[in-house]
């Protein structure tokens, strides 16, 4: 499947549903993410959101399919392009948008920002801005559950740009030697900022890099939410059973620049166009229409729902208060009354 790289799997039909998966729910989640990101872009343009803003547009299938295949208490550790992962886990859109606004009602109290979403109650543990820097930490969460003897696992989302960092290597080796219950999902969107994978990686098939550590690794069509769901379902069962870590290379593509600051001049227009044809939302919509699972009117209703969710989130964020200035020095260390 290596040829998938920079030749999108347009040929492939959408893969069949995994047992008992609610395909409509998956579609709605992807729509929600898409609209949320578009709303965020709008709010950034209006100066409501500051700093770096990295959108997940185009990659919705990866987080949606993968996270739907997990238990709600499985740990999620993601990078700075993590709004989609948080939404897929069920973190409230209002509190995510409020975080992007830097409001007190944000999931991280407005202190984290777009790159540092945390919702511990939902086992969503960030939101990290150092490339590959979150991988060792994710291994530690898995190690802890193994130590405690639970069957809880961790999933760690990384980008293709992280595969050449030393921490990628250290984390994969440790996960393999200690058989840690963790699934690494590499969102290979072919570019790390403006740098194409093939210009900086000795081996461009990321799953092969993982196999070199004796890790069960495979490449999946990251533009196909059902394929993602299937792959993660199967691997999660093995990982949960104590068979050691797994690795998925999800071939995908971001429909916008690296961040709002990026003019996206380094990607050929037709490459972007080609990939947009694979829009995971359009794709699943078509599948469901063809299968008569939904009617066009249902899809309109779902889109309307996604619009409403994004609008409500923006309104909530807008109306929320800023954190009080006195809170500046809170929570650097444990305080009286903390758990």
């Amino acid at each position: 499947m290596a040829r998938m790289i920079d030749r999108p799997p347009s040929s492939h039909a959408q893969s069949g549903a995994a047992a008992g998966v609610d395909r409509i729910a998956l579609l709605q989640t992807m729509m929600n993410i898409r609209r949320f990101e578009e709303k965020a872009a709008e709010m950034y343009a209006r100066g409501k959101i500051k700093g770096f803003l990295h959108l997940y547009t185009g990659e919705e299938a990866v987080a949606t399919g993968a996270i739907a295949a997990l238990r709600p208490d499985d740990y999620i550790v993601s990078h700075y392009r993590e709004h989609g992962h948080a939404l897929a886990r069920g973190v409230e859109p209002e509190r995510i948008m409020a975080e992007l606004f830097g409001k007190a009602t944000g999931v991280s109290g407005g202190r984290g920002g777009s790159m540092h979403l945390f919702d511990a109650a939902k086992s969503f543990l960030g939101g990290f801005a150092i490339v590959a820097g979150h991988m060792p930490l994710a291994c530690g969460l898995a190690l802890a559950e193994q130590y405690k003897g639970t069957d809880r696992i961790a999933i760690n989302f990384i980008g293709d740009g992280s595969v050449n960092e030393g921490e990628f290597h250290e984390a994969l080796n440790l996960a393999s030697v200690w058989k840690l219950p963790i699934i690494f999902v590499c969102e290979n969107n072919l570019y790390g900022m403006g740098t194409s994978m093939r210009r900086v990686s000795s081996v461009v098939e990321v799953y092969k890099r993982a196999q070199a550590y004796n890790i069960d690794a495979e490449q999946v069509d990251g533009m196909d939410v059902l394929a993602m769901h299937k792959a993660v379902s199967r691997l999660a069962a093995k990982v949960r059973a104590g068979e050691g870590p797994a690795f998925i290379e999800a071939i995908c593509f971001r429909f916008r620049g690296h961040s709002m600051a990026d003019a996206d001049l380094y990607r050929p227009k037709e490459e972007v166009a080609r990939w947009k044809k694979l829009d995971p939302i359009t794709r699943l919509s078509k599948t469901l229409l063809d299968a008569r699972e939904v009617a066009a009117s249902d899809l309109d209703a779902m889109h309307a729902r996604a619009d409403a969710v994004a609008d409500d989130a923006a309104r909530f964020a807008e109306e929320s208060p800023n954190p009080p200035l006195e809170s500046l020095t809170r929570h650097v260390y444990k305080e009286p009354g903390d758990a």
Binding site: E165, T195, P323, L325
Partner: protein, 323 residues
Amino acid sequence: MPEITYREAIRQALRYQLQHDERVFLMGEDIGAYGGSYAVTRGFLDEFGEKRVKDTPIAESVIVGAGIGAAIAGLKPMVELMTINFSLLAIDQIVNNAAKLRYMSNNQVHVPLVIRMAGGAGSQLGAQHSQSLESWYAHIPGLQVVAPATPYDAKGLLMSAFESDDPVIFIEHTALYPMKGDVPEEPYYLPFGKADVARAGNDVTLIGHGGSVHQAFRAAKQLEADGIDAEVLNLRTLRPLDTEAILASVRKTNRAIIIEDDWQFGGFGGEVAAIIQERAFDDLDAPVMRCSGADVPMPYNGALEQAALPQEADIVRLAKSMV
């Protein structure tokens, strides 16, 4: 003299070096096709080609280490690490190799390497992307630490960095890239270890580097209104530090305030304060004070971030309390 931005001043120095010294090449993440995360090297790849402008993997240790090796072998590499935050991933290379090799080898090898990185906060990038760790580098013998405050500083100091035969940590303040100032078109070289008196005054010395110099300058203007005549000292380089200029100023004003974005505790301001009281004890009419960042990881929220950073008003208040 043409007025250009801090960014353009850096570009001029880099282009001059690439044009006039075959041994010079640039290496870093996204400096080529992307044009640099702060657009400093935009267009360089087309102009100078892949041999001179190398896009690297995201792998800070090997980027810096390869720069060290290439420098030892007689080239003049310039490594860009995007931001000082990411330099933590290459810090062993910088501290244990770049800084120590001339000494360890008994002067058989040396490391003429320029490492550029953007530092500082203020644009709501959050805790992991808003650090000012120059005090860490300033602590290490074998390194030279440069922190330009103006376009003029930036070009002249970067030109000198390439002249140096020892490693240079060149820290650009993110907030200054768009800032404009007069810069000669022809090449010029500003010496390391020479501070610049940005404003002469008699009542109190405001000491800073990078972005803090401008805050100090604006604070000085405000203090004028209150009849306080502040001197503003732009350090330009932290290592070597222009101790003489600092002492000369304090012996005149008898008061000093150090301004820094960085955390106060264990920061660079402490060193400057320690030196002043050590060498100019009897000239001081008041303790040396520091106006620094709050002792917290940087919060994202804009108001909180500003509250975490030193403000002109803080400098003014401090100065008034001292005279």
